[in-house]
Every structure is written in C-alpha cells, then in structure tokens.
C-alpha cells in the first residue's frame, strides 16, 4: 500500500498521509528531543480529504485538503504536560516538546497513577480490512465525471440535486519512548491507515414540495453504487410529490435500512456498562439496557447484534486494551454483552481485555423483501429515513425525531399516497419488540466518529449492516410541514 499519490499537481512531493516509517521516524526524533529521564508519549494523526459538494445541479465546491496533528506528552518528576502542533520541522517539534515539559513542570498533576492492571496480552496482529486503494486513488477527474453522471438524471427531469462525495484517508500511530517487557507499551497503538468513502444525495423538486434521499458509506469506494443511489433519490423525490396530511397516531411501519440505522444509533451507543469514570454507577433505568438486564431477553428473538472485525464489510480500527475478536451484544434477543473498558473487565470480570462497543455492527434480518412487506400490509407507512433523532427522556431510550425524504401510505398491499412528514416519539426497544417482518441486511450511511477537533486519534470507523423491518404500533406524535 503506497501513500504516495498519483501524478498530478500533487507530485511536488506532498504525501497525503504519513506512512508507518514516517511516523516511526517522527516519533524517534521527538523522543530524542526530550530533556530528562521521563517517558515521552506521542500520538501522530494525519488525514487527507478529497471532496465534491453539489447543489442545484452544479458542483459548488471541489476540494483537496490535508492536515496532521502531533500530540506530545512529557512525563517529569512532578507530573505530565501536553502540547500539540501540526508542524513537522525540527524547530516546531522541539518547541512542542519544550512546551510539554514546561507544562509538566509548572502544572503537571500526577493524575496517572501507577497502573494496577496486569500487562496487556499480545496484540492481535491481524489488521481488519480498512484500507482501499480504490478510495485513496480515485482521481479528481473521475470524481467530477461521477458527480456529473449523478446529477444528470435529476436535471433532465427538472429536479434539483444536492449531494456530497467524499474520499477520506487517515493514518495514526501512538508510540511511547518506554517499552516494558512485552511487544508494546500500553500507550502504543500500531500504525494503521484507513480510508472512508461517502456518497449521499438529496433530490428535490423545483417548488420544494418533494424530496428524496439516498446514501451509503464504506471504507471501499468500489463497493458504493453511486448511480444506484442517484436513481433511488430521484425515484423517491418523484414519488413524494403532492403529499397528503395524515392524522398522527400509531401505525404499522416499514422502515428502510437507513431508517432502522437512524433509530438504532442511540441504542447501540448504550450497549455499555457505563463510561470509564463511572462504571460503578451503571444505568438502572427500566427502559435502558444495563447490566441488570444481562442475560435477559430484551428484544425479538430474530435480532442478533454482533460484530466480527475481520468481516470485509465491517472493518474498524484496532482498539488496544479491547478484545478485537468477534463479539455479540444481543444474541437472538438476549442481552449477552455490554461494552466495558479494560479497567472494569480486570477488576470485576477477571478478563484482561475490555469488551468493544458497537462502533461497527451487523444486525440480523430475515428474508422478506420490502415489496413483500408492502404486499402484506393492510395499512401502514413506508419510511426512508429519520432525522434529528434525540433522547428527550435521557436516560430512557425514548427517542424523538422526524421522518424525512420519503414517506408513503400503504393501503391493502400497495403504496397509495405520498404523506407529509411526521414527528415521532418511540423507543427502539419497543420497535424491536413489535417486529413483524425482517429483510436482508445491507450497508447503510453512517459518518465516522470524527474527533478531529479534540483528539484526532479517537476517530473510529462506524460501518453498519442493517435490515429493513416491519413493526406495528409505531408512535407518530405530530404532523410537520417540513419537506
């Protein structure tokens, strides 16, 4: 895998992201600049973004951006201090190391207690598939050609297409100057380079009275059928014209996979005992999954939520301290695992590794196609996706939000009308207990957990494979005018 970019205006020597050797050499330069015997920890993150944004059937911006972040933590006799920079020359690195040392000297608080944790087991060396040359090497011209092809059908029909195509690459490594016995120190994270491609678009009619959306994300651009997405968004916009208002109330719903993923977002985020600092508190609300529900059936037995990091469609970044083997959080409806940080696992569970959270996950489905679901629905609603999903009654899992970009009434087995959007108040747990039918799981659109502003090294890929489903008694609580 080469990080050197293909020829073009870039060939004046700029690497888009740093390679493993470059990170290693950089870390060693930083270690050599340290004054004093204390440990130095370095986190090096670099990223590149190639993007194309369009609106009203024309590209509004094509961009090529890159940046990096070098984080230095210096330990001295009184504590540790931190500094950040994005410059790689000797002067800047030295300045960062000195700034970290000054900070340690002046303000260092001994927050890091000597660890009571046993040494980490050997790191699983297998790298889940998270790099795609297709994503990294897609030339600017090809992006442009692709987007023009995506816009053309909408424009031909007098509609307005808006969308976003993004190719992203990131690389990170964490190294410590002190390596105790064992293959790596607790701070170390082996170098990993990854890619992420996103393609999404919204087609609206000229009067703004209809809107359709389609999108998907993957680390691998070659797995994204962009023309298929464009056709789907256009079709949904076309079919959304002249929506009628329905009474809010409880309806049978057919949720397309994206809507299911949108609904599930808060649920998967909750499949953990508690945050690192408050694990001993846990959550004990009746509607939120907690350690008290471990071993109990919480949703329909057809639902299994699991993750295998080596699955080519579900690659995530290795998390040292976490068990990177396959994990199942909900097994045939039974809550079998919660994410746990390593400290808790060692202290309370006798395990030397933590359990992962569903940053990436696969949800089982069934074999009923969406058309079959429609055919067997006497009265219900077909939902494209959900927007603005929030938790009004935290810590319960009751969610509020809106339908968006395509909502249709089904009567006696057929789609009969486009419907105005609803606001909903519903819990994913209730929905997964009111299941009627499930379809084939497919990849959906989900953005990378992007911590660029705070700690770039915390970026994490979030692939999800999610089925469409039909459930009854879904609560729509208000009618909205927004299209």
């Amino acid at each position: 895998m080469s990080v050197r970019s293909p020829a073009g205006p870039r060939s004046s020597g700029a690497d888009r992201i740093l390679s493993a050797d470059q990170c290693d050499a950089l870390a060693r330069r930083i270690f050599a600049l340290a004054r004093g015997p204390g440990e130095t920890r370095v986190s090096i993150v670099s990223w590149w973004n190639g993007e194309l944004r369009w609106a009203r059937n024309r590209v509004s911006l094509g961009g090529d951006r890159q940046n990096l972040s070098v984080f230095v933590r210096r330990f001295t006799d009184v504590g540790f201090g931190d500094a950040w920079t994005n410059q790689l020359d000797d002067g800047a690195l030295e300045a960062a190391v000195r700034a970290a040392e000054r900070s340690a000297q002046l303000f260092g608080s001994v927050l890091e207690q000597p660890t009571t944790l046993p040494p980490l087991p050997p790191l699983d060396a297998r790298q889940p598939p998270v790099w795609s040359d297709a994503t990294f090497n897609l030339p600017t011209e090809a992006r442009g050609d692709m987007v023009r092809a995506l816009i053309a059908p909408a424009e031909a029909k007098g509609m307005l297409s808006a969308g976003f195509l993004e190719m992203h690459a990131g690389a990170r490594a964490q190294l410590s100057s002190r390596r105790p016995a064992g293959p790596y120190a607790p701070w170390d994270e082996p170098y990993v380079a990854w890619t992420q491609a996103e393609c999404s678009m919204t087609v609206r009619n000229a009067s703004g009275t209809a809107s359709g959306w389609a999108g998907v994300s993957s680390y691998d651009w070659s797995r994204i059928d962009a023309p298929g997405l464009a056709a789907r968004a256009l079709e949904k916009c076309d079919a959304s014209q002249h929506p009628v208002a329905l009474e809010p109330g409880r309806y049978t719903v057919i949720l397309e996979p994206q809507a299911v993923a949108d609904l599930m977002e808060n649920l998967v985020g909750t499949l953990r005992r508690a945050d690192a600092g408050t694990w001993f508190l846990g959550y004990d609300d009746a509607l939120k999954l907690s350690r008290q529900k471990l071993g109990l059936k919480v949703v329909d037995e057809r639902i299994t939520i699991s993750h295998d990091a080596m699955d080519p469609r579900l690659g995530i970044l290795n998390e040292p301290g976490m068990d990177m083997g396959p994990v199942t959080w909900i097994d045939h409806g039974v809550l079998t695992n919660l994410g746990d940080w390593r400290g808790f696992a060692v202290a309370a569970l006798g395990r030397n590794l933590g359990t992962r959270l569903p940053t990436g996950y696969r949800m089982t489905g069934g074999e009923t196609s969406i058309s079959e679901m429609i055919r067997t629905t006497r009265r219900g609603l077909l939902v494209t996706r959900l927007s603005g999903v929030g938790l009004p009654l935290d810590p319960t899992l009751v969610e509020e939000g809106f339908t968006r970009d395509g909502l249709w009434l089904i009567e006696n087995g057929r789609i009969t009308k486009a419907v105005k959007n609803f606001g909903f108040t519903e819990s994913p747990l209730f929905v997964l207990n009111n299941l009627e039918q499930l379809g084939e799981p497919v990849p959906v659109y989900r953005t990378v957990w992007d911590a660029l502003e705070l700690m770039p090294s915390l970026d994490q890929l979030t692939p999800a494979i999610v089925p469409p489903l039909k459930a009854h008694d879904f609560s729509f609580t208000s009618l909205i005018d927004a299209i």
């Binding site: 009203r56 024309r58 009184v78 920079t85 999404s200 609206r204 409880r250 108040t425």
Partner: protein, 552 residues
C-alpha cells in the same frame, strides 16, 4: 471533584518558569525564502509575497479569481487542578474560480513551494468540475483593502497572562463556590471534572487576486464550566454559565467587574446568583404540566435559543436556496427572491440585525473571508423579512432583487472559514434582536403574568430540517398570579417558527438585553463557527405546552 491542594512549593519553584512561559517565542517554522525561519508576526510583508505565489500559480493554471488564507492558530486550555495544554498550528488554503466553478486546496505548510502546489491544485479542482453544465458566479463588488491590518481589541491578551494567575483565579472561584454550600461545585461542561478556561488566538492573512490583502488577529475565550449542586438525597443539578459562553474577548471575560449585556456584576456574583437560583428552585414543588396553550415568559437566553433555532438558519441565503439540502436541510423561506421584503416572519415587535462588528462578538472581524468589511444589515424589520445573511457569491444571487428594491448590491460579509484548512462558506454573523421600548425585564414579565409558564433556560431547541417546527425543553415554571409556583418536570413546548414569532406580545427593554455565544454546525464535512446572539426577555402568547416523551 475536589482539586488537589494548591502546592505553594511548586508555585515558588515555578515562578521563574512562569515568565519563561509567557515570553519565549514559539518557533514554528516557515520557509519564506531559502531556509526555514521562525514564523514572523502576521503583519510581516513577506507573507504577502508568499500569498502572491499561490495567487499567481492559480491564475497561471486558469483561475479568473483566487484567494488565499493563511492561519496561525493558537489555543490554550487551562483547568483548575493543574493542567495547561497548548496547541499551535499553521494552515494554508487556496480557493480558485474557473468558469464559474470553485476549487479548493489546503494543507499545513507555509512555504513558496507549497503555495504553488495549493494554487495549482485549487485551479485543478475547479477545472475538473467545470466540465459540467455552465455555472455563473457573480461576486458582489467590494472595496479592495490593500494592506489592512487589524487586531481585535481586548483588555488582556490571555496568552500574555501567566497561566498561574489563571489557575489561581479558577481555583479561587471554585473555592468561593464551595463556600456557598458544601454540595455546590464548579465543574466542566460535562460535569465530569474541574472547570477551566479556553482561549484561542487566530492570526490570519487574506489575499485575493483582485489585489485585496489584509491581516487580522482574532481572540476568542470561553469557560468550560457548569455549576453543579447535589443536595443530600437529591439528584445532581447541572446549570450552565451563559456569561462564560464564547466571546471575542480576552481574559477580561472572566475578570471584569461587569461586561455590558453579558453580566452586570462580577463573575463570582454571577455564579452565586446561579446557585441562589438552584436553592430557590429546590423550594418549589415539582409538578407535571397541564397540557395546553399558555403565555410563555422567556428569559433573554431562551429568546436567543429560539432565534438560534429558527431565524438565524432561515435567513442564511445559501440554506434557503438548497445549498445545505443534503446536510441540515433547507428553510421555511421557500421562495427567497419573492419573499425578500414581503414575507411576514414575525410580529411588528421583531426587528433583527446582523453584524460582525459588535465588540466582544464571537463572529466579530474587521474583514470576512471574502475580504469584505461586513456591514450591519437588518434581517427582519418590524416582522418583515428584510435581508439575508450573504457572502459575495450568494449576494450575487440577489443582484436583481436588490436592484428592484433600490438597494445597493453588496455582500453582508458572512464568508467564514474556521481555519485556512477549511474552504470559506457562509456562516452566521452576530445577530441582535431589538429590545422593546419599555424598561421591563424577565422578572417584570413574570410578575405581570396571571397565568402562564416561565421558560428560563432551554437546551438548543430540537428543530425539523426546515428550521420551522421545533420543540423546546429545559427549565420551565408554572406562573400563578405573578409568581413562579412550581417547577414543571417533563414539560416541553412546541412551536412553528412563523406562528411563534407572530405571537410576540412584549419584548424586554434595553436593560434586559443579553449577549451570549453560540456554535453553528454547517457544511459537508461539518464545520463549526461561533457567533453571538443578543436578545431581550420576551412574552409570547398562546404557546403549546406538552408532556415530553409522550407517545401517540
């Protein structure tokens, strides 16, 4: 979470270092000529030569217009209990226009070679896109600033203040808070550890191919703070400190005895009043809301929150025309050209102005990222949509409409890139709602309400994707005969933007105005920028109140 005891020994030992911290220049290196040298002050004329390289490269590669931004971003985060971390970054970004299409390239290096690379890449990006259907860009004219320099006036440059002094102050306030009552604490926003302060200083260069050149130094300060109380046997109460929200100010945001429109007394007194409010609240019974329509008495903070959710996004012209349709959405101003000057968006009391010049404003600049000096503009005049927030490009879309209304064709100066790594786009300016004529404030409104609900503080309202319908929830109180008689739990109110603003009954006077900082997320990929909202207290008639989380 108590701080470790302040270590006097370390203080004295560190005193010598304190001076070192404040005065040693940080040699980030740039290459202006043949070799690397410490980055010069932003006014250094050699930076102009650097930017000229990028502009020339873009033009040679076919751009009819190009602009460059260089930014040097410093930030410092200090938390009581002894952490001080610094970050310092350099960024450079070039934007090029070819046949009506924009291209953009950015990276972290300031050097002549890199300027050429970025200029060429930006033009390359634009040219690749321009193979599509024709696209017009009509940039609204602006006076060309040649060699302008501006430093945001602050009383105390936070990077010149000793971190020890800042830490001392933070610990002092925390101790004072704890003295008010043993269950009170000052914590950070997530209430997970001690509170702190964050400071940002951006030194920025803007240069364009039509000869504009200016430099600016922009400050921003904010508190990472919440007031928490855990009375025995009661759940944890967490309240924000709006007076420490983002502002275009220095250390004085924390230390000034008063800041007009932000707080009328010291920060310590402001915090003490928040704690007093928590105390008073605990004496009020908790009751469920009786679902129905009530007059809503809104504090200045709540009026701001509602403007934040509705009118600010609604008046962003790019959003109104569908340029954010694939992201946050569009607006309820569905036909901007026809509605400009005619659409009633609120009652006659509502007048909303936008500017980027308010001292202390979080969006305050001398020039925007198009090189425009942002004028004050009136977005809403006596309830009628009067203007939009625009950049040079989006103002171009209004050219004919402005001409028809007999107005000058100009940008309202809202072009903004959080740093040179990001392309400039339209972001909110500082927005201010005009006060009412009578000298009334929130307490007066409560006292004058026989039956209603006081809305004292809300989280950001949950809005739909046209910034039209929303729900607000937070601290709500039942008002009976001029007094708050109960706290309402699980209550929320629903609103439609137009209906809500048309139901404005009263606005607080000048003295009730408050200015706080807000953060806007926009774009793909998402960018964040801060801006200030100024608003008075308000009474809105017949607002629908419901039970939160109630299912159909």
């Amino acid at each position: 979470m108590p701080f470790p005891p302040f270590d006097r020994r370390r203080f004295v030992k560190g005193l010598g270092y304190a001076i070192a911290v404040a005065t040693v220049p940080r040699p980030l290196l740039v290459r202006l000529g043949r070799s690397w040298e410490p980055v010069p002050p932003i006014q250094d004329p050699r930076l102009k030569e650097l930017t000229a390289r990028a502009l020339e490269a873009a033009r040679t590669a076919g751009a009819i217009y190009a602009d460059v931004r260089l930014t040097r971003d410093r930030s410092r985060s200090i938390h009581g209990g002894g952490t001080c971390s610094d970050a310092e970054n350099l960024e450079a970004g070039v934007r090029a226009l070819v046949n009506g299409y924009w291209g953009f390239a950015s990276g972290p290096i300031w050097s002549p070679d890199e300027m050429v690379r970025l200029g060429q890449e930006a033009a390359h990006q634009a040219r690749s896109n321009s193979l599509g259907g024709s696209r017009e860009v009509d940039l609204a004219p602006r006076p060309v600033v040649t060699d302008g320099h501006w430093v945001m006036p602050v009383q105390h440059d936070p990077f010149e203040v000793s971190p020890f002094e800042i830490m001392d102050f933070l610990e002092g306030e925390a101790t004072a808070a704890a003295r008010v009552g043993p269950h009170y604490e000052l914590r950070n926003r997530q209430a997970s550890s001690g509170w702190g302060a964050r400071f940002y200083l951006q030194a920025k260069v803007f240069a364009s191919s039509d000869g504009a050149y200016c430099t600016q130094q922009l400050y921003r300060s904010t508190g990472d703070v919440s007031v928490t109380a855990q009375p025995p046997g009661e759940p944890l109460v967490i309240r924000g400190v709006p007076a420490l929200s983002s502002a275009g100010m220095g250390w004085e945001l924390f230390t000034a005895d008063r800041i007009p429109r932000v707080r009328n007394h010291s920060l310590r007194e402001e915090i003490r009043r928040i704690m007093e409010g928590i105390e008073e609240d605990s004496r009020l019974p908790l009751k469920p809301v009786d679902v129905g329509r009530y007059d809503a008495v809104c504090s200045a903070l709540v009026t701001q929150a509602l403007i934040f959710g509705t009118l600010t996004p609604a008046t962003e012209l790019d959003r109104a025309l569908g340029y954010e349709a694939n992201a946050d959405g569009t607006t309820y101003i569905t036909d901007p050209f026809r509605m400009l000057g005619t659409l009633q968006v609120g009652g006659p009391l509502l007048t909303l102005a936008a500017d980027r010049s308010t001292p202390g404003g979080a969006a305050t600049v001398q020039w925007d990222d198009d090189g425009v000096v942002p004028p004050e503009c009136i977005l809403v005049k006596a309830g009628v949509l009067n203007d939009f927030q625009t950049t040079r490009e989006s103002a171009g879309w209004l050219k004919e409409r402005y001409a028809a209304l007999g107005r000058p064709w100009r940008s309202n100066g809202c072009a903004r890139a959080p740093s040179a790594i990001a392309p400039p786009m339209q972001f909110a300016a500082n927005v201010a709602a005009a006060p009412g004529r009578e000298a009334l404030d929130y307490e007066d409104f409560v006292a004058g309400t026989t039956k209603g609900i006081a809305v004292e503080d809300i989280d950001e309202p949950s809005m739909d994707f046209q910034a039209s319908s929303g729900e607000g929830h937070g601290r709500l109180y039942k008002i009976e005969r001029g007094k708050k008689v109960a706290r309402l739990f699980s209550a929320a109110f629903l609103f439609h933007a137009s209906e809500f603003w048309k139901s404005l009954r009263s606005l607080g006077g000048e003295a009730s105005l408050r200015r706080y900082g807000w953060e806007e997320d926009k774009g793909e990929p998402e960018q964040k920028c801060q801006y200030s909202l100024t608003a008075p207290a308000a009474v809105v008639g017949q607002v629908a109140f419901i039970e939160r989380g109630r299912k159909a």
